[in-house]
């Protein structure tokens, strides 16, 4: 399915936007412990990419991962319950923001280690194809990850073994406070090209453009092509992490932030809908999220007696810490 339906794209970017805004409120109120890395400003990438995927395709994300999980189809209520550490959460309250996963919809997890997801998704896609499926995969990562050896090793494996993985680099200009220009020798597309991969640069603020570029790459990959890279140029509207709301780190000039925020994927996609339609989608999203917050906050916390439940798939039980 390569569904470029403008309403669907709008619904997804709007859902992620409002989800993140609600999540930030819950960080402030203390319901989400440890804070989050908000995806605000980058919604068009997760929405555009995932709209070009099938349900049986797989994705893996990053520390800034809420958008990927939602766009691939996870239930926002269970996602929010996860962020609040509730037993009903996607990961039974064991994962939290940086490890949210929903294998049932093909999300192999957000990942707290920068650069780690590329090789995991490469193995997953290779295995699925060995088992007869024609699935493809997407590895989302930031501009910071392109300097991690393990991601570049994944590029090589995927290209060498022609595993159809779309490597989607969300270039928001910074790795925490480190500007891309001060961190990346050569270029991001150049890294992919060095391994013989096609690389495309796209405006990450335009969900339809992201969708079109992804759909074309996925079509090539499903037809037998090898991995490709997309560099989506974007801007992070908010903090690297919500801790920055309390501690000001001085690294982005205010004019730059204003310029970055002026190209808003939610506004860009919203302008493509008739007013009445957009208002209706907004109301629908609000209702979904109000119900999600209620569900999350009404859900029970997991019982500490089972703190290490799920540790071993084999059924092994760990010795406790004693006393």
């Amino acid at each position: 399915m390569t569904d470029a339906d403008p309403v669907r794209l709008y619904r997804t970017v709007r859902l992620i936007r409002r989800f993140e805004e609600r999540a930030i409120e819950l960080v402030r109120s203390g319901h989400i412990v440890g804070g989050i890395h908000p995806y605000l400003g980058q919604e068009g990438i997760a929405a555009g990419v995932c709209a070009a995927l099938r349900a049986d395709d797989v994705v893996a994300g990053t520390h800034r991962g809420h958008g990927h999980v939602l766009a691939k189809g996870a239930d926002p209520a269970r996602m929010l319950a996860e962020l609040c550490g509730r037993a009903t959460g996607l990961n039974a309250g064991r994962g939290g923001s940086m490890h949210a996963a929903d294998l049932g919809v093909g999300v192999l997890g957000a990942n707290a280690i920068v650069g780690a997801s590329g090789a995991i998704i490469t193995g997953a896609v290779w295995a699925r194809r060995r088992l007869g499926a024609d699935a493809v995969g997407v590895s989302f990562f930031g501009d910071g990850a392109v300097n991690e050896g393990m991601l570049l090793e994944a590029f090589n494996l995927a290209a060498l073994w022609r595993v159809p993985v779309l490597f989607v680099c969300e270039n928001n200009g910074y790795a925490t406070t480190m500007p891309v220009a001060a961190a990346v020798a050569g270029s991001i597309p150049g890294r992919a090209e060095a391994f013989g991969m096609t690389a495309t640069v796209v405006d990450g603020q335009d969900p339809e453009e992201v969708h079109a570029v992804t759909a074309a790459a996925v079509a090539r990959m499903r037809a037998g092509g090898g991995p490709e890279l997309v560099e989506a140029r974007t801007y992070r509207f908010d903090a690297h992490h919500t801790f920055e709301h309390a501690v000001r780190l001085d690294y982005r000039p205010p004019e730059e932030v204003a310029r970055g925020r002026s190209r808003d994927p939610v506004a860009i996609q919203g302008a493509r809908l008739p007013d009445a339609r957009r208002v209706a989608v907004d109301a629908e999203v609000e209702a979904t999220l109000t119900a999600a917050v209620e569900f999350a906050l009404a859900s029970p916390e997991p019982d500490p007696v089972d703190a290490l439940a799920y540790l071993y798939a084999s059924g092994l039980t760990a010795r406790t810490g004693g006393g």
Binding site: G93, N111, A112, M178, P304, A318, G321
Partner: protein
């Protein structure tokens, strides 16, 4: 007397060493803006050549430091997350640690690996909450876990001056500790020397890092029933065995509290070495994380997996009852 925080003690140690020795320089992620609030003010004072922000290339910059050390410099690397030590375990253990012997004594590798915020940071969950000091002690890399601001200062200074690689864990649970210290009292603390925070006659409690403060609180709580000696090894490898043997020879009882996994942890090593050398009046006890612990996200589960005061209290009651 001025109040010194643990974090500022680290800052001060770095500043003093940078000022004292031109060969010292810092490497790390977001250290110029002091995202971890440790390197504050250092770039202004010492310049970007000596306070170097790195791209996200941990494996490369860790071995870069090894190379710089081989060429006569004394690098200090700040790691944002304790789990990054897994990523660079190869670079530290298989290279930095091994070069002196492998080259037949032709070189030294004086690198300091500084981890501000090790262990649980509440809400950072599985991939960001480890406390892997036992791994380095096992590998034979000098491993330091200061509990107080003055010790943090003194041990970091000694680490930088040490001719071998040193890993210094600054536990998240200790970073907010403050103490009244006279600037003149800030002196190097020798590596490999323990400190008794509270003398006692009935039981020796060996506590690692932030748990020293929990042990002191428990000792105080028990003051009218049990006389608890609180023993802080400060350096886990090389361990100050003679001081510990002297303590346990007096008390005859041993409890160890250690915020790391149980199997093959430092607590096990402490107990084994003591029982080899001292007859005890009761079987020793240890309070640790469980075997194979992965910190679950939900706050109550995260707490349940870390050693708690109630467990320590129970362990002390056990050794008192048993002998």
């Amino acid at each position: 007397m001025p109040r010194l925080s643990y974090r500022r003690a680290l800052t001060r140690a770095l500043a003093d060493e940078l000022a004292r020795d031109e060969r010292v320089f810092l490497l790390g992620e977001d250290i110029r803006v002091a995202a971890a609030n440790v390197t504050s003010g250092l770039v202004k004072r010492f310049g970007p050549e000596r306070v170097r922000d790195t791209p996200l290339s941990e494996q490369a910059f860790t071995s870069f430091a090894t190379g710089a050390a081989l060429a006569g410099m004394r690098p200090v690397i700040e790691f944002q997350i304790p789990s990054l030590l897994f990523l660079v375990f190869e670079q530290i253990v298989n290279h930095a640690h091994k070069f002196p012997l492998m080259t037949g004594g032709q070189c030294a590798v004086p690198v300091t690996y500084l981890v501000p915020g090790s262990g649980s940071r509440k809400g950072w969950a599985g991939q960001h909450s480890d406390h892997p000091y036992s791994l380095f002690a096992h590998a034979g890399v000098t491993t330091v876990v200061p509990a107080t601001p003055a010790d943090a200062y003194g041990l970091l200074v000694s680490a930088v001056r040490c001719d071998d690689p040193v890993v210094l864990f600054a536990p998240a649970g200790a970073l907010d500790v403050r103490e009244d210290v006279d600037a003149a009292a800030l002196v190097p603390v020798p590596l490999g020397r323990a400190r008794v925070h509270r003398p006692g006659d009935d039981v020796t409690v060996v506590a690692v890092g932030h748990l020293v403060h929990d042990a002191l609180a428990v000792a105080e709580e028990l003051a009218d029933q049990v006389s608890v000696e609180v023993f802080d090894p400060r350096t886990l490898y090389p361990f100050d065995w003679d001081s510990l043997v002297e303590s346990v020879a007096r008390t005859g009882r041993l409890v160890v509290v250690d915020d790391a996994n149980r199997s093959c942890g430092v607590a096990g090593e402490v107990i084994a070495t003591v029982v080899e050398r001292v007859p005890l009046v009761a079987p020793p006890r240890r309070v640790t994380r469980p075997d194979g612990a992965v910190l679950p996200f939900a706050p109550a589960l995260d707490r349940a997996v870390q050693p708690g005061r109630d467990q320590l209290l129970a362990a002390i009651h056990h050794v008192m009852k048993d002998g």
